[in-house]
Symmetry: C2
């Protein structure tokens, strides 16, 4: 409890753009997000009054950080489970808990558990040797997708290989069939300790080089039946794993079936569109969920909402400030979110959101705005 | 320029809720608002990473604060004009400038100037003695409204008196006729140094005890002709006075005419509804204006938007956190903004915004939510 305001203190471990945007949502709720950032230049550290500097692997830093928080939650899933258990042993309330979060940290555990629950997933196997990988490839056909069991994100830790010899060395891997997918979807749900769930409309996510570049809400042409199937999968997994806070479920749409790809238990890129595009943003919803407030309305504010990520372009040319000027003039209908990051090629430095009635027009607006910010043209 | 981000630094003098909400908007633009707060517990000081403590009457504090700002602007209009001129002489860019801001600081100057511009205002006179006040009252009829020339806000510094003897002593006053008004309106416009203007839909403001309690956008039943008249008045005054940033113009609607009541040159309570209810919030718009970015779209996101202020209730009973829980459960369609203030009777501690199609339903939602937060019922 913040004695100055009479309102709770939520601590977030990690100071990236997710914490930055959660802080914006916290302000409206009368709070100020407490941030543990690795670096004083992290996106959230630049804007949040109550920032401490420390790494998520430093238990002493975590314990000191958690001390005055009513709830501790996460900007990323890299905090070791034993550290989370130590926080809880010291009296902290941590949401989601270590047992739930493990399924967003370890792909092998996640695949195993989803299989036990009967949730549809790609064919997969843990592979501990070239022989096991060769055997799996012979069974499902090459190429095969191999993934690091832990630590991957944004296309890192994932490789598509044509033969066993191409597998990266020194990493514990799982192998998966390369699913012949039509597109990727995401279903995002928030769940409170009380067990209330609120689910967002299912979206289509568009990837380039393994990085999400565009999200379309709602997913175009998705049947109601299929959308409900995806939402029910997300609700069921959130409930079975006892997730508290947000669960983002990435799905493959093969045309004839849905298969679960990844899970994240925090605000997620596939729901950035909710800031303007839903009555309750994912950031506010995550705070409401971990605080056991009643969940907010997840309905769309427009028939079509498109988010485009802004990736850092090549250095040189126009400054980001000049690009922003031009973007505002050229695409006035778009809303911008910049993360306060130094521009580096391929790095997510912000996103833009467009809303409207016409899918192609809205997509074009978002793409044009992202291009202005990426390339200055 | 913030060298960490390549984006500009806007400094705001004053650390109240207007700075707090401007900081939220700054975050989306990749910035972090620089705040000069009188008190470390001020609403913006609780949430903004880059806060200095100092008063707006302390020139040394102002000079130190302005040093690394690309632009300095205001959360309130109380900074002395000579201090602003000293900032400019020291190389600071201050928007709006001292000559414009004077018209939001001094009601006598404002009335004089609006009269010269032919802008319709209530009949008024500066009154320096009981005799002058008696003469004015004899001319326009009692009761008469008297206002402190400087320093008033939120109903403070305004008195309705039935005879000259009731006038407060020791204050420089102007007297105005008590206009037989049907309702109050507000027109809010943003203007950039380049001279671009963006005007919001005209709203109706509802006052209780001199404090705004409700704002309805757009103003119900206002003819297009009258709305355009109000908007044109605001644009004209912004341009003539060389306002940069937001200008909020409060108007009396007498049924047959519009009369200008007050001017404010900063984000204003009559446009808090724009956070969810307009494509560009007034807070983002103010930043864009003072930075000379192209202005954002001011159109409504729903046919009807209603904002209700949340005033502190009597002490005791439910905590604000409990009230918030109940409010979320009882009125899920409403968005809340709490300012991080200690609850004191009559103090503005937050606001709520409701959107929809049906005026009476939307008003009822907003009122119900405000009542939950004010009274816990």
């Amino acid at each position: 409890m913040d004695t100055r305001t009479g309102l709770p203190v939520v601590g977030m471990i990690g100071g990236g753009q997710l914490a930055r945007m959660t802080h914006q949502a916290a302000i409206a709720l009368g709070q100020s997000l407490r941030v543990l950032a690795a670096n004083p230049d992290d996106g959230a550290a630049l804007v949040a009054a109550d920032t401490s500097i420390g790494t998520h692997t430093d238990l002493d830093a975590l314990l000191a950080f958690a001390k005055d928080c009513d709830v501790v939650t996460f900007d990323h899933e890299h905090v070791p489970g034993d550290h989370i258990r130590a926080l809880v042993a010291a009296g902290a309330v941590v949401r989601p808990g270590a047992d739930a979060l493990l399924h967003a940290q370890d792909k092998r555990v996640m695949r195993q558990r989803l299989g036990e629950l009967g949730v549809p997933v790609p064919r997969w196997a843990p592979v501990r040797s070239t022989e096991e990988l060769a055997a799996f490839g012979a069974q499902v056909g090459w190429p095969v997708v191999v993934k690091a069991e832990r630590g991957g994100y944004d296309g890192r830790g994932v490789w598509v290989i044509g033969s066993p010899g191409e597998a990266p060395a020194g990493v514990e891997l799982i192998a998966e069939e390369k699913v012949p997918l039509v597109r990727e979807l995401a279903a995002v749900v928030a769940r409170s300790p009380f067990g209330q769930v609120a689910v967002y409309p299912v979206v289509e996510t568009v990837q380039r080089n393994g990085i999400c570049v565009e999200v379309i809400a709602p997913a175009p042409g998705l049947t109601d039946e299929r959308a409900v199937e995806a939402q029910n999968l997300a609700i069921r997994v959130a409930t079975e794993l006892d997730v508290v806070g947000l669960l983002a479920m990435e799905l493959f749409d093969t045309g004839s079936a849905l298969l679960v790809n990844e899970l994240a238990m925090r605000p997620h890129n596939s729901a950035h569109w909710t800031i303007e595009g839903a009555r309750t943003s994912q950031f506010e919803q995550h705070l409401r969920a971990v605080l056991d407030y009643p969940m907010g309305d997840t309905s769309l504010t427009a028939p079509v909402v498109v988010m485009a990520n802004v990736l850092g372009g090549e250095p040189g040319g126009m400054s980001i400030d000049e690009r922003l000027h031009h973007m505002f003039a050229a695409v006035p209908e778009v809303k911008v979110h910049l993360y306060g990051k130094q521009v580096r090629p391929g790095r997510k430095i912000g996103h833009v959101t467009a809303l409207g009635d016409d899918l192609e027009a809205v997509r074009a607006s978002a793409a044009r705005a992202a291009r202005w910010l990426e390339e200055g043209s």
